[in-house]
């Protein structure tokens, strides 16, 4: 069990939040959609990095402010390394350069 620091409400218990899976998967633009192959669609819709290590993912504060945000979390230790807002770029954290 972990505590997530909602950027809008502060630290709250995990059970207040909903999980939004992998972050930074860009929805194809209308223009791209017209020419995308089936394989590209599969990549967008289904294929995931499923990282063992630092994973960038979306969470929503369902039982609070109901706003979405991004989290960098280690999938082995469940340690949350960074919470950042939607639209912000992926922070430069990997299993090798973990902030300590």
């Amino acid at each position: 069990m972990f505590v997530i620091n909602c950027p809008y409400c502060g630290p709250r218990d995990e059970h207040e939040f909903g999980y939004g899976h992998e972050a930074h998967i860009a929805r194809p633009t209308l223009e791209q959609q017209g020419t995308m192959s089936d394989a590209e669609w599969a990549n967008y819709l289904f294929l995931r990095t499923n990282t063992k290590g630092v994973h960038f993912e979306r969470w929503v504060h369902t039982k609070g402010c109901r706003r979405w945000f991004n989290v960098a979390r280690h999938t082995v230790t469940h340690e949350i390394l960074k919470v950042y807002k939607m639209g912000e770029p992926k922070p430069d954290i990997s299993a090798e350069n973990l902030p300590r």
Binding site: E14, A39, T75
Partner: protein, 417 residues
Amino acid sequence: MKQAYSIFTLVRNALSYHQDWQEAWRSPEPKREYDVLIIGGGGHGLATAYYLAKEHGITNVAVLEKGWLGGGNTGRNTTIVRSNYLWDESAHLYEHSLKLFEGLSQDLNYNVMFSQRGLMNLCHTEHDMQATRRRVYAIQMNGIDSEMLTREQVQEMVPILDCSPKARYPVLGASLQRRGGVARHDAVAWGLARKADERGVDIIQNCEVTGFDIVNGVVKGVQTTRGAIGAKKIGIVVAGHSGVMAGLAGFRLPVESHPLQALVSEPIKPILNTVVMSPQVHVYVSQSDKGELVLGAGIDAFTSYAQAGSPPVIENQLNALTDLYPCFSRLRMLRQWGGIVDTCPDASPIIGKTPVENLFINCGWGTGGFKATPGSGNVFAHTIARGEPHPLAVPFALERFTTGYLIDEHGAAGVAH
């Protein structure tokens, strides 16, 4: 040759204070090269090796396991076996496995304690009843046993279930697969290992695969913590670590790894002689031969490689349990644990080729692959031996995520099992 297990060998060994039992399988040093390497010594990997040797005459095979045999999901599941799946593709595949389970103890000369005590899916709403009826009819059309029970029939089979109209979750009826039940998970792994070993398969524990040797898109071998091992063909059967293996081989999968938890109670006298699942209220329960209640529910929502989940999942599951069975409210729980399950977007497995030549994969069984152990190994062995998918495995190819031909079993697999 292995010494056959029987009442006579038991008596004979008792006379020598059980000091002279033959080892169940060898622990050889890995050879430099094999015809086939299987990565992952869970039930599915061991079954694959066993059927490669038994049905395809391929015995120069090694199973590489990073930990100990069956220490992954094979030894952590709640052991439910059934084949009552909605879609034809799944029904045929899981029924193939159920049939193999029915003969497995004989085939392996190892008691896997397969107990066909029946498996019930409860319905709590009118909608539940309609959806379940539809599923039961679809399953019957595939020639698989499945029937509807009325509320009275459910109450008669499970007297401790609160079927009263004022129950928090009223029971309107249930589906029943009489041939469903439970089996001893460790015994399945050990029995398969013993027989695979007898036919010449090398079972190598404490050997983690850390990389692949791929030349011009063709796999040639693996790097392991015990050195490089070459192979003509390789099968990946690592469940929760499938994404990691695919990453090492340079491709991606439509799979996410999640914790799935289970727990058992203190042992009590026999009180429940069937398996009861409630997909809506989200708990399933059976009673082990030792008398413990074996309880399971759904996955933790987040991606994880820790074999542990969060307490709220357990809390929900126990709330559901005590709502349905008030008499369990003072029962103490003994142990709780988690495994990492490999979930697919359509809740169906992936069996077949990968983008790398001679590299095959069998994964995505998620929350419900124990029941498929012999069937999965059987069709995967065929797929590896022939280089072409077994007819039952064809619909489960990785390509289905490109063609869009998904086998959406979420409805039929409402909870984890």
